[in-house]
Symmetry: D3
Subunit: 126 residues, 6 copies
């Protein structure tokens, strides 16, 4: 069994690899001591555990996570994961396919919002 | 440009290929004349248009659609797409990875319900 | 100003007019003393106040309430308001139009579930 | 059967009639090539098909769509449809009735947000 | 039985006690005549009735209301109730515990957004 | 730092204390090997970590978790936590207060469903 510090370290390392040091430094400092237990969950549980599992490639995980967060109406998290999807090797066309499925299953307003956010991130990257 | 009948036919054909004739006959008859415009949307828009696009493989689309429907709290639709995911070549382990991401992004109750439905479908298939 | 008992009585009377005495007797007894404050809210606030306002006809209110409850994923409440919509003079075709708008704005799974419930209620009425 | 281009054209024409050329030009250009399949869905499926059906007047559809989008927590889409509701002949008092039903069925926070957006749009129109 | 004016007055008084006169003056004037029926609901139903019940202390109610509004994805209402929770005697540590439960039951994105809002309110108070 | 096995064991022990051995044996076996990673999350993250924190009493956590799950429209999880709330010392009257707040913030249909489930659990306990 890993101890929770190992999980945390493995997760933080993966986060930094996907999103870059600058973004992660900023996020990990944004909530001070108040946010320490939350950051533990993000690093240890989300990235150290679930994202570190190997049965699906990171690219496919990114596409599923985009669909989940757009369906949940979480635009800030969705934006983060558009950046992550590009870092994990998704093309704009592949991201768009998930957003068109979203139009069918979650409705046009969810898909419109997701298109706007994705389009902004894609233009920032250029 | 395709006419809408061509889209409808292409979509119905894809639905039958993924879910089987018996399931689709049953679904397409379940709502009588009242459901005709809805069935048109499902066949023409969902399967004839979006699912027929080729930028992502059916298998990856299935995983995204599972995440979207579980996040939206739509258990009947989720069950249908577990069957579709298996028909499109997803393994139980790959489906499970989406459900673990769901636990992180949509919370444990969403993931617990999705696990129960997926497990039932997997056992029906055996 | 009305006192709250007047609001309650006016609301209960309107509920009984829309849904029938049998249904309302059953609903108002289903939760015993535990449900008394909730029943007060339903009668006084929902039916004695909002539903008793006159700027929109009951029929139009029913159609809006069907859309709201289907979007909120509340099938039991949706079923009640299909019955109410028919009592308030909506035709099956008018109800269906709301469900097709729902397919566009809330996605196909919401619309499919709503069609199934509406179709069952329509068949019970025959 | 109509071909999909006819549906698209009919839908675009109806959108322009309801929302005005300036708004639709802006929306249809906002997402570039990336948004072309989404715009197709909006014009052909939403406006060319569902909104073009005639069993309910546009005014009643607008009120149902306001309820659906407020329940779904989609403020940007809700704002658009307050503008559409006014163009389709709804009075501020009629729009408000839907928002009071929303308070009952979706809760006060949904109704408060919807009131603020509707009030802003009403003041812009003056 | 109380008349509805008494409920309204009792509710407005409790709101002013929790949130302060300045905040309530601003909120009660923000929507003009258009918002009068909504303000009636807030004062009479929410604060004059439910919040005035005595089976739970205000502090515990605040923690439940924070959980409910964060789960419902209502950031503006959540912010108001962080202020209310502090006024009702909740400590930052107690508020945080609800947000960590939220991470488990509603997912990390809901908890991250709620942490950011709570942290901002806590820093404004310093 | 604890290792994850210690967290898991501490969480499983707390779950058994709140819900009883029979219920937990049944839940932990219901999903076989397919559910092992999910059970790990439930025991280690939910109960071993968040529920084991001590800044709020279990009783208050139960009330917040009831509000969160009812707002999220998760009836199966809500039912489990009504049982947990009673085991953690909440009275029926205290549970009801959360459900009345729910009526205000999440709407009457959410509160009606939650009342029905809570009432059933209370009657099973008698």
């Amino acid at each position: 069994m890993m101890d929770t510090q190992e999980l945390y370290d493995r997760g933080e390392k993966l986060r930094r690899k996907i999103f870059g040091n600058e973004a992660i430094d900023k996020r990990m400092n944004a909530l001070g001591e108040f946010g320490a237990p939350l950051e533990h969950m993000i690093n240890a549980n989300a990235y150290g555990d679930v994202w570190s599992r190997t049965a699906l490639p990171l690219k496919t995980k990114s596409l599923a996570v985009l669909g989940i967060n757009a369906a949940l109406n979480r635009p800030a998290e969705f934006r983060v994961h558009v950046q992550g999807a590009l870092a994990n090797g998704c093309t704009p066309e592949e991201i768009r396919e998930v957003l068109l499925l979203l139009a069918i299953y979650a409705g046009l307003p969810a898909a419109i919002q997701a298109h706007h956010i994705a389009y902004e991130v894609l233009n920032e990257k250029k």
